[in-house]
Each structure stands twice: as C-alpha cells, then as structure tokens.
Symmetry: C2
C-alpha cells in the first residue's frame, strides 16, 4: 500500500541517483514495507535500491520477498553480498528459498555458506518436502533443569543474539532429549534463586521432524502456541517451528483445497505470477478428464434417442435436471470436503453423514420438484406449450428432480469419504467431478421415470 | 486423539465416582487435551469431570472448549463457579463466548463479573462484529521510554501476572499514545542500565479497533508478528491482538469462501454440530435460486424445439456442451476468487485477467473441440450412429465447444471482478452460479452455430 503511493517519488530518486535522500525516506520504513516496494520495482532497479539498505535491515527485508524476487536479486548482487545474506538469513526462510533453486545454482550457494550454516542448510534440506523438518529453524535456546532462574537469564543474555524467538525456552537433559518447555514470562516473574525444575510442569507439546506440515497446522490450532519444538524419533530436540511459518502453510493448504474444489490442479505460484502456458496445463488436465466423463452423457442420450424423437419435450428439461443434480452434489461435496479437512468429521462418521444427506436430498429435491411443477403448470396455462400430456410430463420432471437431487447429495457426500478411505485426497472429488458423475446417472434416472410414467401416452 | 483412546477408561472412573484416580490421570494432560475429552463426553458427565479439575487449569481448559459446550457447561455449574470462570477467562475468549449468549443470559453473566471485568467485557462487546475490537485483549504491559531496562524488568516481575503475552512490551507516552513496541528478547539481551529509548526504533505496526478482522489477518501475514497492538482513532493504545486468535479468523474465512464456492451459505457451526434443518435452509436458498436460473434453459431449449425435432441428434450433445462451459467457468471463477481474496490481483487488473482468460479459453476450448471431434468421428466409423451428415455435426459440436468454453472462462473470471467492483463479495459468484449463467448462453451459442452450419442439410 505504502509502496504504491510513494513509488513515483522513489523512482525519481533512483533515476536521479539521489541515494542519500532515498536512504532518508526508507529510514522510517519497516522491512516488510521495503520488501513490498522492492517487489513493485523493475528488476534492474531492485538491486540498486537493495544495495543502499543498511546491512542490519537488508537481510530482514530479503526474507520478506517472494522466492522469485529473491533469486533474481541474488543474480544481480556480487558474491560477497550474496554470501552475507545467505549466512545472515534465518534457516527456515533460507530453506524455503533453496528448495526453489535449480541444482547447479544450489551447489554454488552452498559453497558461499560458512561451514556451520552449510551444515544447518544441508540438514534442513535433507527432510522430505512438506515435512515439519523443512519448516523448522534450529535457532532456539535450550537449558538444563538444575539451573537457577538467574543462571537462565544470564545464559539468555549471553547466547540470545540471533535466536529466532526467545519467547519459549526449552529444557533438555544431558542427552539433548526434550523434557519441558517454559514461556519466557515465567522466568521474568519467578524469584531469581528458584530452580528451573520448580517451574517445570512436564506438560509439553511437540512435533517430529518427519510429521506432515498439515499436522503442524492442526497442532498449532489446537494448542494456541507461538512456537512448537521438533524432536527426532528418539525425542532429541532438533529445532522449533514458529507460528508465522504455519500461518503460511495453512493459507497454502486452503488455497490448494479451494483450487481443487474448482477442478484446477493446485497452482505452484500466484495467479498473476504463473506463466500462462503453465496455468493452462494445470487446467487442461482436469477439464479433459471431465470432458471424457461427460462424453458418456452423449451415449446416455443416444440410448434414449428413440424416446426423445417421439417426445422432444423431454429434451427441453435435460439441462434443468442434470444441473440440479450437479448443484446439489457440489454443495454436499463442498461441505464434506471442508469438514474432513478441518477434522469435524472422519471416515468413521460415514453413516451419520449418509443419513443426513439422504434426508437433506429428499427435502431439497422436493423443494425443487414443487418449483418445477409450478413452472410447468403456469407456462402450460399461459401458452399450452407442453401439449395435452403436460400433467404426466410435470410429474416426470418433478419425480426426476427428487431422485436426481437425492442421488447428487449422496454421491457428493460419499465420494470424498470414499476417496479418503482408499488413501486419496478427498479434495480430488472436485465439485465439477461430482457434477459430471451425477450428469450421466441423472439422465438415466430422468428417462427411466419418463418411460414409467409416459408409456402409452407420449412414449 | 488422546481423549478418544482413553475415553472408556475415563468413563469407568466417572461411573464409579473414583475421583482421586481421575484426578491422577488428568494430572499429566494439557488443558487442550482435557477440553477434547470433555467435548466427547455426554452433557451430564462434563460437569462432573470439570468440577474435579484444579482451579488453575479449569479456566484454561474452559477456554479451549467450543462455545456451545461452554454454555451447556455453565448451565450445569453453580453461580460461584461460573463467576470464577468468567472473571478468570481472558477477555478475548470471553468476548467470543458472550457474543453467542442470548440477551437474557448475557445480563445475568455480566452481573457475575467483577466491576473491573464487567467494564472490560462491555467495552469489548461494544465494537461491531467482525471488528478488531472484538478480537483484542486489554492484557498487555505498557512502559515509558525514559525507564531503564532494569526498571522494565522489575515492572514486568511485579505486573506480569495474568498478562496474555509478555513477548512484546509496548511503549506509550504520558497520554497513553502508542509510540513503539519492543520484543521481550531485546530487554533480556540489553545492558540493565540502558534506557528504553535507546532500544526504540520507532518502527511499529498497529491496527485500529474498527478495522475489519480480515485486515488483521493480512497484517499478521505480512509482518510475521505474534501480537499486534490496537489503538483507537487518536492513537491511544487500547489492546492487543494475538496470532492464535487470528489463525482462527483466517480459518473461518477460508471455510466461508470455500462453502460459497460450492454454493452453500456459510454455515455458522461445524458440519457435524449444525442442526439438520438449519443446514438445509443454508442450502435450499442458493439451490432454488440456481434452479430458477436454470429454468431458462428449458425456455432456451423450447426456443429451438423445432430444430431439435428435425435433428434429434443435436439434443444428444446438449449435456456435453453446457457442462464443458460450466466446468471451464468454474475453474476460472475459482482462480480469480482466490487470487482476489489473497490480494494477488485487484479490480484494476481486470484487463490483464481478461486477456489471460480469453487466450486460456481459446486454447482449452480447442483441446476439448479436438477431443469431441475425434469421439464423433470414431463412433461414426464404428456404428454410423450419427447418419450421413455426421461431419457437419462434428464441426458444429467442435465450434460450439470453443465458443462455450471461451464464454465460460470469460464469465467465470469477469463475474467475481464485477461483483467486487459494485461492492459485493466476489465469492458470491459461486462455481454453480457461473455454470448456470453459462448454461443458458451456452445453449444459444450451440444452436446458433448449428443453424449456421446445418441449414439446408439437417435443418
């Protein structure tokens, strides 16, 4: 926001190489705002602006940039500058960036790291993608239980520089095993001569390095923490995950689920930034699959071609019938997918869900059936458009609506549960996917009811 | 999780009134886990279990419960117990609960609060729903800039009890105006004789009480903070918002957008907890609106009834054509709605989006057209089902697909932008809504092309 308002002025200062005024303007800005401004500048001006930033906020600013801006900026900077930033960055942000770097450049960058930082980077990159290991930072303070509060405060004063968060202090035993965590506030409130183990309650929540990042989101939501420690399989403390990284993961996941619901493969980049062809690829796959599924409607219609040619009026209601099934199916799928992803229902609740959706489908279908019946009756009275057999036609459409809507809600709700049961992502049962499935069966339901009710009159 | 595994054992202990063993088992549990267990118990057992909790964790546990469980629990407890919990709760959690209480009970509860807490509760409830004011807690520490670090630490030690977060300390002037915030870690690392204003950088981010809660989510995402101060319109510090509350708001918002995309009004409660009839009401509205929209397809089809009766083969492809338009429209709407809600694109980018979607639609439509053409050609060669005029039919279907898919992507992408422009929620342009709009126009496109290409042969 701020960046956009001031950008013309900033541009003038860059163009006129008035670096001292530039420095003065940026002095009051937060790194997050400077990062916003940088992202809005053309490539060649980014490096100019970045170079005039004081060293102590340059890395902070860098960490707020999107990965693609980070990489283009690194290309424009000299080796020494790159080395400074890479070594100064916090490990979790650095890992997020290095993951996106092509292998050849990754090797160059690793060489620019100090031995210690390279070690950290390699160990973080060694964990599988989407694991908690990739998300964690090894910047934390661990203390022993036999220390006094005074000793802890002295230790913090001595070793607290460069630590990502001092808000929670971790207690480990002589083997490095996590035995408790204590909020910094408790040390500040406790008498200085007290022992750490007098403050301990043995209650702590932790994640393991190989846990999925989705689990991290769940744990943070449940326990309302700002940082959660991470251990290896033997309980040794190896890092912490902070809530700001988890907020990003939660948002990414919500976006993925959202895009899947709309039958788009999850985009790896924002809508505005992703190359056009890549986006089309993400959409063409699902669209083609749905199209091939939808081709069966042509077969289903072909199967009833004889009936349609005898009673063309039946064809008029085909879009109405199948879209009602699709819409009710989309609703049910939406509700169940989101409830599954929030943990509100689990696979074991399938019977509860099924009962609810059958009743819902029956009631919703009846509402639409009444609307449909009224519509046909009204139009008939005005224009006689549906001929002498309008009443059995109205009944056919109404009964078909009840059946199709019930079928739609049932499929829409059970499909996500079924996918989850066999180990797939329930969000893969996108709304259009459910709609396509319901279209083919909806046609069968409609024409079967028509055969039953119109045999001997229209058919 | 833990709760579910141990529940039978716990139930036995409750049934046999073995409170001492119960106490022992729960001793190792976190408030979040006890809250989970409580929620799984039947109503009458909740109060029994809750009463045996030690006072110091009872309120913590209470804060983790869902509002409906909180209220049913309060009903089962005595006035004195209720008064203790209400006064002990943190103001933001209490506000979240009081918002859901019927007015008559709200008055009773307010009377149970101490004068000080009642004042806090009333002031928080005075802010509009979905405002930052409702989300904030007045539990924070504010200091003056002329204090020394030692004085600050002493002050924290004296006044830090019951403060929601000690992680960030706020600096105000003599009028209570916020002038800076400093992380607790800085005080711990600084020499004790230093002045607060030596640590100040004048860089701070804040929210205002009347800001929308969505703005709070944005600001937290941008600045990676764990708490952000809240001021009134004149800059006076009145409270802070913590990241755990914002994580909940972000999730709620994502759920709302998700449900709207699936054409369900946002549910006020979880899928499992909401009463069946209330859920049906949330679905029936949209479903009926879509149905009424879809009724126009019957009119559109009726408009071309003469053509259909002459060439029934045209009817066979109707579901295929309209669903392809609907699906491509859903994709486009999904992408644009999410990009809007994440701020990746704004209304001003409409021209960029339009260009992208026209090109996307052209390419995607062409892919489907080729698939459709192949399908008709293949089936024709096998069975001759489409008669002597199969080639113009195949061209009709293919051109219609290109037109309908382009139209779908264009409508799907422009509708959310248009809604936002006129001040509506872009998420209201749900995927099924776009599909319905495209269905009617898709039929017009299809039959118009048919008239053009088949005049003189089939029509």
């Amino acid at each position: 926001m701020l960046g956009q308002i001031l950008q013309p002025e900033i541009k003038d200062l860059i163009n006129s190489r008035d670096f001292s005024s530039l420095k003065e303007v940026l002095d009051d800005w937060t790194p997050a705002d400077i990062a916003d401004l940088l992202s809005d500048l053309p490539d060649h001006e980014q490096a100019i602006l970045f170079r005039i930033l004081p060293k102590d906020i340059a890395t902070d600013t860098f960490e707020y940039l999107d990965v693609d801006v980070q990489l283009s900026l690194l290309k424009a900077l000299g080796n020494e500058e790159v080395a400074f930033i890479l070594n100064d960055m916090s490990p979790d942000d650095r890992t997020a960036m290095l993951e996106e770097v092509p292998a050849s450049i990754l090797k160059q960058m690793m060489n620019l790291l100090s031995v210690k930082e390279r070690h950290v980077a390699q160990s973080l990159l060694g964990y599988p993608e989407n694991s908690v290991g990739r998300l964690m930072t090894p910047d934390y303070l661990a203390i022993r239980e036999d220390w006094t509060v005074q000793e802890v405060l002295d230790y913090i004063r001595k070793h607290g520089k460069d630590i990502e968060t001092l808000n929670i202090i971790y207690i480990t035993n002589e083997k490095g095993k996590l035995i408790d965590d204590i909020r910094i506030g408790e040390f500040l409130l406790a008498p200085l001569e007290l022992n750490v183990n007098d403050l301990m309650d043995g209650n702590f929540t932790y994640l393991q390095v190989f846990d999925d990042q989705e689990k991290a989101v769940e744990v943070f939501k449940k326990y309302d923490r700002i940082a959660i420690p991470v251990t290896d399989s033997s309980g040794i403390l190896v890092g912490i995950v902070t809530v700001d990284d988890v907020l990003d993961v939660a948002e990414e996941e919500a976006t993925e689920d959202f895009q899947k619901l709309g039958a788009v493969e999850a985009l790896e980049d924002s809508y505005a930034a992703i190359p056009l062809l890549q986006m089309i690829k993400k959409r063409a796959g699902w669209l083609s699959v749905l199209f091939v599924g939808e081709l069966f409607t042509a077969s289903a219609m072909g199967f009833f071609e004889h009936e349609i040619s005898k009673a063309v009026v039946l064809a008029l209601f085909v879009p109405l019938i199948i879209s009602s099934g699709g819409n009710s199916g989309s609703q049910a799928a939406t509700l169940v997918i989101r409830a599954l992803s929030l943990g509100e229902v689990t696979i074991r609740d399938w019977y509860f869900v099924m009962k609810r959706e059958i009743i819902s489908g029956l009631i919703l279908g009846t509402i639409l059936a009444i609307l449909g019946f009224l519509r046909i009756t009204l139009w008939q009275n005005f224009s006689g458009i549906y001929g002498p057999h309008w009443l059995p036609i109205a009944f056919t459409v109404s009964f078909a609506l009840v059946g199709v809507v019930m079928w739609g809600t049932l499929m829409g709700s059970m499909l996500p549960l079924g996918l989850k049961k066999i180990g797939f992502d329930p969000a893969a049962s996108s709304a259009p996917f459910v709609a396509t499935l319901v279209d083919v069966t909806g046609l069968m339901i409609y024409f079967s009811i028509a055969l039953l009710l119109l045999k001997g009159t229209l058919l």
